[in-house]
């Protein structure tokens, strides 16, 4: 009898393991990121749906703050800018952000990061980040980093969800989505409202604020191989210190409106892709200054208002052929951008401006060949060229990019080598300030080696690059630097899956960058990340420590965040998360008086991620 009971128990345990482990394996194999990621396209970081859920990643900032090599920060106007804080120069223009097949673009800056760098992630399934001058077939213009966001799908999220979060400083967010497939038509609709309330900072007799309210609607409809997307975002809030140095405004305001219509279609067994996208953006910024406390370059100003309108249209066509050992891709793309930033009022008087140009047409062509030398070796060759045609006799530009990659793989080892030389055209925002700016050239070599076992993944990346004619602002204006700046980077990563639902990730990153400014300080930036994701019964537990040392010459930041998510039942989930729990995370140093430099007391130090505890609830229906 005892033997029989023992056998029954063993049978029961085996079956339980079988169905549980089958479900877990099915979930891992079916991750949408497995179907979209492209390992040959660059040095890839994937945040799967499971990662984002268990990390409780509420916004893109939560992901970017631990991104290797960079540190998420915001400029003086409270706008996301990974590489820089000076709003006169937007260095993040080479960081391209995509939502599904559509580039989230702002025509002036060239990158959507400025508007979407801290976008909420409640409608996003997974994220892929391609670093190291990624493949050209992503988009019309070159990039140093490509961030691809993929929205949720009816296949994996059928039904609806309402979610609300409330944080200790008052930040609150509410959103709802519904998705379904009926008669071969899939649709996804999503609406969100975020009231991002942040601490205020007293400086030189003024109160600095950076609150933002954002409303978003996103909808997509898919029929067979065609998808139509509609995306509207409206935000308004404070502009923190404002763009201008010298004195701090008594009050600031900024407002953005973004509308995007896009379609993507695939034909001929998915080897031909045709995408269209139209974007309209309106931006408004205003500052009020106390009498006698005008900004340095605008003496006598008590009120400043600027409105901008931008639009862009992009059409791209890509065809892929598989010919014996070659996979050849050819793409042609066209984009027009127009922009109007003429509407400036100072002290309520319209100021006549002379906008150098207001339209840019970009024609782009790329060809890429992936050559399978044998079972283990792959070579990729890519060439891309753009012609930038501008109106009003503005100087046109032609830019060329070359990329050579070699990839070796076997069951355990993967080696990726990428050599690239890329020219970047001057974005309108910079060209307006100096029409004579020339193309910047980035040349780099990156070597990645990874070793995988059943439970571990170890990775080392080494990189060296030189940047020519970088755009700098030395106080006398925006210009190309005469200095060739060298960049060195070393990355080491280790991931341990100590069970199917428990993993530990460790990262150590170092990069040094020679200043493109004469006599400027070189940067040596170290960052370290330790992240642990655990699941116990119906609880998902998240712990993360992000350390930044040497970034922008600020003190070392130790940002410890942790969270727990509890599945009360299939339909109801609650979560609590603490960010920068010990309030020791990275701070950004904002200076008011840059010219003439006054004193060290002029700096205001602001946490990039404020200490905050968030309670969230979501209900599925």
């Amino acid at each position: 009898m005892k033997l029989l009971i023992l056998m029954l128990m063993l049978f029961s345990i085996t079956n339980a393991q079988e169905i549980d482990s089958l479900l877990n394996e099915y979930e891992t194999d079916s991750e949408l990121s497995n179907k979209t990621k492209d390992e040959s396209a660059g040095n890839l970081i994937v945040y799967t749906r499971d990662d984002l859920e268990r990390m409780q990643a509420e916004s893109l900032q939560d992901v970017l703050k631990s991104l290797r090599l960079f540190a998420y920060t915001e400029n003086r106007m409270g706008q996301p800018d990974i590489l820089n804080q000076d709003p006169m120069i937007y260095y993040s223009s080479s960081i391209r952000v995509y939502l599904d097949e559509t580039e989230l673009l702002t025509a002036m800056t060239g990158s959507g990061l400025i508007l979407f760098g801290n976008m909420e992630l409640d409608f996003i399934d997974h994220i892929e980040v391609y670093q190291g001058f990624p493949s050209f077939d992503f988009g019309i213009e070159p990039a140093t980093v490509v961030i691809r966001l993929y929205s949720k799908t009816a296949e994996h999220d059928e039904g609806g969800r309402v979610k609300a979060t409330l944080a200790t400083n008052g930040k609150n967010k509410q959103n709802v989505y519904y998705t379904n497939i009926e008669d071969g038509v899939s649709y996804f609709i999503y609406a969100n409202r975020t009231d991002d309330i942040k601490d205020t900072y007293e400086h030189q007799g003024q109160t600095l604020r950076r609150d933002t309210k954002t409303n978003r609607f996103y909808g997509s409809v898919g029929v067979e191989n065609h998808t139509f997307n509609f995306h509207v975002m409206k935000s308004d809030g404070d502009a923190f210190m404002g763009a201008y140095i010298g004195n701090i405004p008594e009050n600031t305001f900024k407002k953005n409106m973004f509308v995007n219509l896009s379609t993507s279609s695939k034909f001929m067994d998915d080897t031909l892709a045709l995408n269209f996208s139209y974007i309209k953006t309106k931006n408004k910024v205003s500052y009020a200054y106390d009498a006698g406390k005008a900004p340095y370059f605008l003496p006598g100003t008590t009120s400043y208002l600027q409105e901008q309108e931008e639009s862009s249209f992009t059409a791209s066509l890509k065809k892929e052929w598989k010919l014996d050992t070659h996979t050849v891709s050819v793409g042609t793309q066209y984009r027009y951008k127009d922009f109007d930033m003429d509407n400036i009022e100072i002290n309520s008087l319209v100021i006549p401006t002379n906008q150098a140009y207001d339209r840019e047409d970009i024609y782009s062509l790329f060809i890429q060949d992936l050559i399978s030398l044998n079972e283990n070796n792959l070579v990729t060759l890519s060439v891309m060229d753009q012609e930038y045609i501008r109106n009003n006799n503005m100087k046109n530009q032609n830019t060329l990019q070359l990329r050579l990659g070699y990839i070796y793989t076997n069951r355990e080892w993967v080696s990726k080598t990428f050599i690239s030389s890329q020219q970047f055209a001057t974005e309108p925002y910079m060209a307006m300030q100096n029409p004579d700016l020339e193309e910047q050239t980035y040349t780099s070599i990156l070597q990645e080696v990874s070793y995988q076992t059943s439970q571990t993944l170890s990775k080392v990346i080494l990189g060296y690059g030189i940047n020519d004619k970088m755009i700098v602002d030395d106080g006398s204006g925006v210009r190309n630097s005469d200095i060739t700046s060298a960049l060195h980077l070393i990355i080491a990563e280790f991931t341990l899956h100590f069970s199917q639902k428990d993993k530990l990730e460790l990262q150590a990153n170092y990069w040094s960058f020679e200043s493109p400014l004469e006599g400027g300080d070189d940067t040596e930036h170290h960052s370290y990340v330790a992240r642990m994701l655990n699941s116990v019964s119906d609880f998902d537990i998240f712990n993360e420590l992000v350390v930044h040392q040497g970034y922008s010459n600020t003190d070392t930041g130790y940002d410890y965040s942790a969270g727990v998510k509890y599945q009360v039942n299939k339909d109801f989930h609650i979560n609590i998360k603490g960010e920068n729990i010990f309030d020791t995370g990275l701070e950004a140093d904002y200076m008011n008086q840059v010219i003439p430099y006054s004193s060290s007391n002029d700096s205001v130090y602001v946490p990039v991620t404020e200490r905050r505890f968030t309670l969230g609830m979501e209900y599925l229906f």
Partner: protein, 136 residues
């Protein structure tokens, strides 16, 4: 060989593996519901995983011969199927009280859910490995 590289480095396609895993799960569920090692299964409006990889299931085109009906939709279910055990593939299929359980995606994760009362009505006794997937 070339295919191996393309799978690794081009757009990585794992549909085949997905379908095989999904089929294994359907097989285990069908075996438990019907208590047969090779049950007859009718697929209402198709099922890509089971059509490609039926495993031990006998896919029948006649509902009358089926031990189990797996639904892609709850619309237009043939009359002769309504007397059979119905199993869903979406959470919303459980709104139909004739559906005993469902294997579906929710919140980016695959789920299995049975309702106890419905199992009892059909005198279905699942083995204890499914206990955590049964709700009252």
């Amino acid at each position: 060989m070339i295919k191996l590289l393309l799978i690794l480095f081009l757009i990585t396609t794992t549909w085949a593996s997905d379908d095989k895993k999904a089929s294994s799960i359907f097989n285990l569920i069908a075996k438990n519901i019907t208590e047969k090692s090779s049950p007859n299964v009718y697929l209402h409006k198709g099922n890509s995983s089971l059509e490609k990889y039926p495993g031990n299931l006998n896919i029948t085109t006649e509902c009358a011969k089926a031990d189990l009906v797996i639904l892609s939709t709850t619309k237009d279910i043939p009359k002769e199927c309504l007397e059979k055990i119905l199993f869903g593939t979406r959470y919303s299929h459980l709104k139909n009280k004739d559906v005993v359980g469902s294997f579906f995606w929710q919140k980016g994760r695959p789920n299995i859910l049975f309702y106890k009362q419905r199992l009892e009505e059909h005198k279905i006794k699942l083995d204890s490995s499914f206990d955590r997937y049964i709700e009252n």
